[in-house]
């Protein structure tokens, strides 16, 4: 019987908790997360408001719950964009002849040299700050890492005997890619998606913090941090709660990614 992988279990639990919190927030939150309540502004944590309230009197716990939706939504779409573009590019680069492959990978390197946040800020400046802009920018910035990882996996698959046999039998490249290569790089896609998810969470928070991400009043952990700056000395909890939420989410997705990598890689599994 296989030993339980602690990273996988911890990561899975944390991510599961965030997903449950986001799902619950669709049907229940302690208060309306965007309801301004001047009478209760800057309230300390209490039984009424477990995490207290912000300068608008909004319940911080409710905002954290609804903010998890933004976090997951951004992660899913950004990773989706990156995977949909990056995976085919990686497989194509592995299967193509020398020059086309070189062009794909050098273009990939060019994009890799571009700082992701800078790209996202540029998108925000051109198309306006929004969750959608942030998601697409983060997704595009994650394409190179997907393409590179998938290419290396696909190259290994292309050298296997069953692929060589398929090619010798005259099978066309596209059916080979779909039938043989793609299924064999699925584990790589899963691991990369998990790691990219953590990166997307952090990037969205950074963009919202800088004013290029999710606009108000939609709750976002990054913007909660940004709005808490005025109160770092008088009400530091306003920074601590969303900060800890971001840290836990990033930790969870990274642990999950590490755990999945260990799970899918027999060599690493044996070493443990």
């Amino acid at each position: 019987m296989r030993r339980l992988n602690p990273s996988l279990v911890a990561g899975g639990l944390i991510v599961g908790l965030i997903v449950v919190m986001a799902l619950v927030s669709f049907v229940w939150t302690p208060y309306d997360a965007t309801l301004v309540d001047p009478v209760n502004r800057l309230a300390q944590p209490s039984w009424d408001h477990w995490f207290g309230t912000d300068k608008f009197g909004r319940d911080v716990l409710s905002q954290i719950m609804v903010g998890s939706r933004t976090t997951l939504f951004v992660g899913v779409v950004a990773v989706g964009v990156a995977a949909v573009i990056g995976v085919p590019l990686g497989i194509l680069a592995a299967m193509a002849r020398r020059w086309p492959a070189e062009i794909i990978m050098r273009t990939n390197d060019l994009l890799l040299a571009f700082p992701a946040l800078l790209l996202a800020i540029m998108f925000g400046a051109v198309f306006g700050a929004s969750t959608m802009t942030a998601m697409i920018a983060i997704g595009i910035a994650s394409v190179p890492s997907f393409a590179r990882v998938i290419r290396s996996g696909a190259l290994q698959v292309m050298r296997t005997e069953y692929v060589l046999a398929a090619r010798a039998a005259g099978r066309q490249p596209f059916p080979i890619a779909i039938r043989h290569v793609l299924p064999n790089v699925t584990s790589l896609i899963t691991v990369q998606a998990s790691v990219s998810f953590a990166i997307a969470v952090l990037a969205e928070a950074a963009l919202s913090f800088l004013g290029y991400g999710t606009p108000p009043p939609t709750p976002s952990w990054g913007r909660m941090l940004q709005e808490s700056q005025e109160f770092l000395f008088s009400a530091p909890r306003l920074a601590i709660f969303p900060g800890v939420a971001i840290a836990i989410a990033v930790l969870g997705f990274n642990l999950l990614g590490d755990g999945l990598r260990d799970r899918f890689d027999p060599k690493l599994e044996d070493r443990r």
Binding site: P38, G128, Q229, A247
Partner: protein, 509 residues
């Protein structure tokens, strides 16, 4: 935030480090919007002033927005007359002036030793050129204040005569604002990037996205300013602005945008905090051309749905003053109109129901200015409690907001501070972005402009009450003049009642 954190896989050992660094890394992102002013020569003779909302252009003849006159008027450009801190009209490039008995002809005696920064002497011909150019070449809506001028004539190099089509109380006052700025005929070819004026400072350079630098005009005809170089540094993030003063990057916060954090300075011996009043009416504007706003019950319902005291406490830490119309307390016709539309949620709901607006969706297009974003969230929440649906749409300020909201009037609701002095008539008319077409209001304004002082005050009071009772917009509050500066700096204004930030009187004690 390093790009290496964004890409690639993170080994297990670094996971905890990454997670715990998230908060610190994000917090660090706010500090990077400025550079040290230490490069300016002259040691103590230089000064750095922190402001928000960098201008989109330096040409206020074709570009709207308060940031341009704030920086240039009185500092680089001068007008014939100006306002002192009490609001009184006093000489500037005109040493004195007389008004004919029929109040239609003004004769100005001009100074004879003023020079533009392009070395051309200032004469009455330049004044004629400047006045005529407002009518012929300016494109901003404020130019209409010059419509009343029939003719401007140079009687001699130092004597100017201006004839009006009718008596106007407002014209001479308007000459203290940007439309009164004096230009050189040979200095208007590149106003957007190279302003040429007679002022105590000359324009040195504009580092877009960061700062504008002025240098002392060594050929200035009047009293030369104390500082030989002043840098206006622009910040988008109010906390970064506060931090810049705390770290010595700037010497003055020209307009505090994060009043909640003011306590950092109030108890600190290194700084002085000035709190006064301004002309900045923070207006929740309605697009009165839209059918939904044609029903007065909708407009009144919106006004009565907003708890102004709670809003001021929430989005500006209770600083500022509640006003019920477009008149600051420093104007002679100011009266308390806050009781015209008091907060009454039940009444607001019934008014919105009766007008059929309840349940409708309104776009609240906000400029990306800290106070507007904060207040917008409160307004949205309060209007939704009254039965409206409000969608917030941020518009990058100044460029995007000026185009979408101000120029094209493509909005339902917006929030912005109108800082021009005595701007009731300019803001509430059919051509302005408020699209407020009210013949009765125009009658009051015309009577105020034409009458004697008592008639002016009486009719301006009627005008102010009219727009309040008709709910032409909603006045959220009056911005306070909140300045924080190094303790040894003097000459800072207690009240900001003009369009410009006066740098000429600043000095170190």
């Amino acid at each position: 935030m390093k790009s290496s954190l964004i890409r690639g896989t993170l080994p297990t050992r670094t996971v905890a480090l990454v997670a715990s660094a998230a908060l610190l890394a994000l917090t660090a992102c706010s500090a990077g919007s400025s550079t040290s002013p230490g490069s300016s020569p002259g040691g103590d003779q230089s000064l750095s002033v922190g402001l928000v909302a960098e201008p989109a252009s330096l040409d206020f003849t074709t570009t709207d927005g308060a940031a341009i006159p704030q920086a240039l008027l009185g500092n680089v450009y001068e007008s014939l007359v100006k306002q002192d801190e009490s609001g009184k009209i006093v000489p500037s490039l005109a040493k004195s002036w007389t008004v004919s008995p029929d109040r239609k002809t003004y004769t100005f005696d001009l100074v004879d030793n003023a020079k533009f920064s392009n070395d051309k002497p200032f004469t009455a011909a330049d004044a004629v050129f400047s006045i005529n150019r407002v009518k012929s070449a300016w494109t901003v809506s404020l130019k209409s204040a010059m419509d009343v001028v029939q003719e401007a004539k140079a009687l001699s190099p130092t004597q100017l005569q201006v004839t009006l089509t009718k008596p106007s109380n407002g014209w001479l006052f308007r000459m203290t604002t940007r439309i009164g700025a004096m230009f050189s005929e040979t200095g208007v070819s590149a106003l957007a990037t190279t302003p040429v004026g007679t002022g105590p400072f000359t324009f040195a350079k504009w580092n877009r996205g960061d700062s504008i630098v002025f240098e002392r005009n060594e050929n200035y005809w009047g009293t030369k300013p104390f500082f030989n170089q002043i840098t206006l540094k622009y910040f988008k993030d109010p906390t970064a602005l506060n931090n810049a003063l705390l770290t010595g990057t700037i010497n003055v916060i020209g307009t505090v945008q994060a009043p909640e954090a003011l306590s950092q300075f109030t108890g600190n011996d290194k700084y002085q905090v000035i709190e006064g009043t301004t002309n900045g009416e923070v207006l929740l504007s309605f697009n009165n051309a839209l059918p939904i706003f044609s029903d007065i019950r909708t407009r009144q319902g919106i006004r009565q749905a907003i708890d102004h005291r709670a809003l001021l406490d929430t989005c500006f830490a209770g600083r500022g003053k509640l006003i019920g119309s477009m008149v600051p307390p420093t104007d002679p016709w100011s009266e308390d109109l806050t009781n015209v539309a008091p907060y009454d949620l039940a009444k607001a709901k019934s008014l919105l129901q009766a007008s059929g607006a309840a349940g409708k969706t309104l776009r609240l297009r906000l400029p990306t200015l800290p106070y507007a974003i904060s207040c917008g969230q409160v307004v949205k929440s309060q209007l939704e409690q009254a039965g409206l649906k409000v969608v917030i749409d941020q518009q990058e300020f100044p460029a995007q907001w000026l185009t979408t909201v101000f120029k094209n009037a493509d909005y339902d609701l917006s929030i912005i501070a109108h800082v021009e002095p005595r701007d009731l008539g300019a803001v509430f008319n059919a051509k302005y972005y408020t699209r407020y077409d009210d013949p009765t209001l125009q009658q009051y304004l015309a009577a105020a402009d034409a009458g004697d002082e008592a008639a002016q005050i009486d009719n301006m009071k009627k005008a102010a009450r009219r727009i309040s009772e008709q709910a032409a917009g909603d006045w959220l509050f009056l911005l306070p003049n909140l300045i924080v500066a190094d303790k040894n700096l003097k000459g800072l204004p207690q009240n900001a009642i003009t369009e410009n930030f006066d740098l000429t009187r600043l000095a170190r004690s």
